[in-house]
């Protein structure tokens, strides 16, 4: 198996694994955050705007690491520097 095939193979497999493994923990964390937010809104409905706003900020922070994984997967598949380097030879 020459270098070109190896680069393509490892890139695709790594991109799949990145999204699969990197998508597990942020989803669990977001689910738990929403559960707590719903419970606290049910306990104190008039603090609901503050709780909703803080929930959304927290969700955006949790989602950041998921977005990093997604960006790496996209770069590996579509803008792979090693692939471009080897096919330019």
């Amino acid at each position: 198996m020459d270098n070109l095939t190896m680069v393509g193979l490892v890139s695709i497999i790594t991109a799949g694994f990145t999204m699969a493994i990197g998508g597990m923990m942020p989803s669990i964390a977001e689910g738990r955050a929403v559960v707590r937010a719903l419970e606290s809104i049910a306990q104190q409905p008039d603090a609901s705007p503050t709780i909703t706003r803080t929930l959304f900020i927290g969700l955006a922070m949790i989602e950041t690491s998921l977005i990093y994984c997604f960006v790496i997967a996209m770069i590996l598949i579509f803008a792979n520097p090693f692939w471009n380097h080897f096919t330019a030879l």
């Binding site: 503050t50 706003r53 959304f56 900020i57 989602e63 950041t64 977005i67 990093y68």
Partner: protein, 239 residues
């Protein structure tokens, strides 16, 4: 497959390249400024105001209340910067309804520029508000040994702002273009709707995070004054 609107070059002359990102950013700026000027030409405060002025008032009051809720006491000073951030990012994802338009925030250059402007604005507002010494003391909270960690924290917050916005916007466009090749008509419409929702949400998140960072940089004033116990509570029997 095109990863960002940077790679679609509209016009070239020597080393000057006008790509789709620059063109759509300028179109967005022209729409925002011209729309605002047209609406506020005949601004009045009686009951017979135009509906556009009403809409602008709702937007401005909403932004001002959000800024005040985060903890900045005089929101009018920061409303120019934070309101511009929110409106620019919100409009750039809203105009995705127009065909052959790609959001300029789907390219890393635009989001990095916005994040850098937030990075510069935090010390700027901190120094304007509470002086150079107080701002440097916020960097040294709670202990002077935390100074390198706080500086690294500032830089990483900027990078995460840029990447969060870029990743959300790019994923919307990428998923739509992948789905077009699979299911030509129905699915891309759903994904466009979802992209609109996440675009608005990310605009709000970007503006709110910028407000939180600015508020954290100003915080030293309140920390120095400390909690205040009013005498009326303790000595109420003497009254």
């Amino acid at each position: 497959m095109r990863l960002s609107p940077d790679q679609y070059i509209l016009w070239e002359f020597g080393f000057i390249k006008i790509n789709l990102t620059i063109a759509s950013t300028w179109i967005l700026m022209v729409i925002l400024v011209a729309g605002a000027w047209l609406v506020t030409r005949k601004i009045n405060s009686d009951l017979n105001r135009s509906r556009w002025q009403n809409m602008l008032e709702m937007i401005v009051l909403f932004i001002r209340d959000q800024i005040r809720d985060i903890g900045l006491k005089k929101p009018d000073k920061y409303m120019g910067f934070i309101g511009t951030l929110f409106l620019f990012i919100a409009f750039s994802s809203l105009l995705a309804l127009i065909p052959w338009y790609e959001a300029p925030t789907a390219s890393l250059s635009t989001t990095t520029a916005l994040a850098l402007s937030v990075f510069i604005s935090v010390p700027f507002f901190g120094i304007v508000e509470s002086g150079l010494k107080n701002y440097l003391q916020t960097l040294a909270q709670p202990n002077i040994l935390m100074l390198p960690l706080n500086i690294i924290g500032e830089i990483s917050r900027t990078i995460s702002l840029a990447f969060r916005l870029f990743g959300n916007m790019m994923s919307g466009g990428m998923i739509a273009s992948i789905l077009i090749s699979i299911a030509p008509f129905f699915f891309p419409i759903l994904m466009d709707a979802l992209g609109l929702l996440t675009g608005m949400l990310q605009a709000y998140i970007f503006a709110i995070l910028a407000t939180v960072y600015i508020a954290a940089g100003i915080q030293n004033e309140e920390r120095k004054k400390g909690p205040s116990i009013s005498n009326g509570v303790i000595d109420s029997r003497h009254e």
